[in-house]
Amino acid sequence: MDQYLPIVLLLGLGLLFAAGSFVGSSLLGPAKKPTGAKIAPYECGIVPDHEPPQRFPVRFYLVAMIFIIFDIEIVFLYPWAVIFREIRVFGFVEVLVFAVVVFVAFLFLISNGALNWGPAKRLSEGMPSRTSDSTILRITATPSPPTSPERAA
């Protein structure tokens, strides 16, 4: 374990440096005088009236889950790569089968559209031309029926 000694030392030095900078900054910097405007979330001068979103598109979670498949594949590949020259043909065939299985799963994901991004493409299909009626219909909570349906459609 001696080989890790310099890493531990550098870790200590790095922590010391970061902590020292905080101490130095608090000594050298001005006294903390937080005002409402200073500690409010920064939104380019606009007073924030919405909480930051709590929910995100499911794609982000999906990507994180699919990543696990490939991460596990890579975890298996490292030990194989290190001793590859000793196990040669046997190791190669094993990993080829493994890679084909993962690749088939990958094909399934792709053909299901699991890795497609961006809803913009869906919305552009078949969207009617925008008129003032359709906009009013879209943004008002209790809209009046469109005055000229053939224009809105």
Binding site: A18, L28, F84
Partner: protein
């Protein structure tokens, strides 16, 4: 491919495996060993800090030249001390804690960014092996047997720094930036890991020193050429995305997210994030040089005394400098990706290509003709994949969730949407 045919390559690799580790520690620890370790750590630490200072200056100066500007030129000769002036200024700024921030995580995040950036550099071989007195040691801070895995582990921890910084700020822009960043970083980590496996496959060891030694025989033994250029290109793309450097800098796209994950940070915490970012750029350039360009390998003019000690270090620094310039060049020349383009490149192009190339390289190591066979298989797989892309694109249209504007049921009237909810409940109740 020469060494692949070399029957002794197998034995050489095993030898490298057996002798991995810094010879400094073979006689145990005494005060001289401690002293050498302490000097190594201190030199590496100060060299990193100074090189970050110079790197920021270099980036600003080169970008300025490329945009016909002058750039920093007031603080020190040619503006060299500009970064230091900026750093000192940040020490004198008020350290703000936003009201909605999670105070513990908010303060932890800069450490999580800075420490991995520092530690990655420890496993990079800077020079050859030198002897001082009775002690022989490698010009490299540490040489653990897991070498390159340590790099990957640390770069994974760095993701936490970015993610937690954005999440704990309690503000919109940092949150958006950090969600983008974490998705981007894990997407490219798969391709990155697969490329590193290709390198490990040919070098037969995880130790960075062994990887460099296996490339040292001649210029054409560099992994860049042995592995056929493509893994280097994959690695370069993946590592640029991991660093969130342009053209992959969606996490701090200034025009839409202000500053990305560090929008709410001020004073020295902000400075530490910047330090970590540029330190990562430097260490990752060093990792590229280690994996693909033979590290400190290069011709040594033996007629100059002591040249075999310092010349490898010069070669190493020159190679790293080339990559630092390339990163600045990327930033000046390339427009930013759109997010769906970024994800498509990572998942749909890089991952299958790195996997395919890994299989081809493995097959060639076993037997040439197998390589050809697997190459044919990879082409067939590419055709299948192309078909899958087409099928996936049609799925996208089928799953259209929003009816056209103006025909959305919930916008019509309250009674309509009420009956809609009832219908949904009925549907759910059906199977029960």
């Amino acid at each position: 491919m020469r060494s692949l045919l070399d029957p002794t390559a197998h034995l050489r690799t095993l030898g490298a495996l057996a002798s991995s580790g810094d010879p400094l520690f073979v006689h145990g620890l005494n005060w001289q060993v401690w002293l050498i370790v302490a000097i190594k750590v201190l030199v590496a630490f100060s060299a990193l800090l100074v090189s970050v200072m110079l790197m920021i200056w270099f980036e600003r100066k080169v970008i300025s030249d490329m945009q016909s500007r002058i750039g920093p030129n007031r603080a020190g000769p040619w503006g060299l001390l500009q970064t230091m002036a900026d750093g000192i200024k940040l020490f004198f700024k008020e350290d703000l804690l936003p009201e909605r921030a999670d105070s513990f995580v908010f303060k932890l995040a800069p450490y999580l960014s800075l420490i991995p950036a520092l530690l990655i550099f420890t496993v990079v071989p800077v020079g050859g092996v030198i002897t001082v007195g009775s002690h022989t040691f490698e010009l490299q801070v540490a040489d653990p047997p897991i070498g390159i895995l340590f790099v990957l582990a640390m770069s994974s921890i760095a993701v936490y720094g970015v993610m937690l910084a954005g999440w704990s700020s309690g503000s919109k822009y940092p949150l958006l930036g950090s969600v983008r960043a974490s998705a981007q970083m894990i997407s490219y980590e798969a391709a990155l890991g697969m490329t590193v496996v290709t390198v490990v496959l040919i070098s037969g060891s995880l130790s960075t020193r062994a990887i460099v030694d296996s490339q040292a025989a001649a210029f054409w033994d560099w992994n860049l050429i042995r592995l056929g250029f493509l893994p280097f290109i994959f690695f370069m793309i993946a590592i640029t995305a991991e660093l969130t450097r342009p053209p992959f800098d969606l996490t701090e796209a200034e025009s839409e997210l202000v500053g990305g994950f560090h929008t709410e940070y001020s004073s020295i915490r902000f400075a530490l994030f910047f330090l970590a970012e540029f330190m990562n750029t430097i260490t990752m350039s060093a990792v590229v040089v280690t994996l693909f360009f033979g590290g400190p390998d290069g011709p040594i003019p033996r007629f100059i005394p002591t040249a075999e000690i310092w010349m490898p270090v010069v070669w190493f620094l020159l190679k790293v400098l080339v990559f630092l310039f390339i990163y600045v060049w990327f930033r000046a020349a390339l427009p930013r990706f759109r997010y769906d383009q970024l994800m498509d490149l990572g998942w749909k192009r890089l991952i299958p290509m790195t996997l395919g190339w890994l299989m081809i390289v493995a097959a060639i190591v076993v037997w040439h003709w197998w390589g050809l066979l697997v190459a044919v298989g990879v082409v067939a797989a590419a055709v299948l994949l192309n078909r899958a892309f087409a099928v996936g694109a049609t799925r996208e249209e089928e799953h259209a969730i929003l009816p056209p504007v103006g025909q959305r049921v919930w916008a019509l009237s309250a009674s309509d949407s009420g009956s809609d909810v009832d219908a949904e409940r009925g549907d759910e109740g059906g199977p029960r």
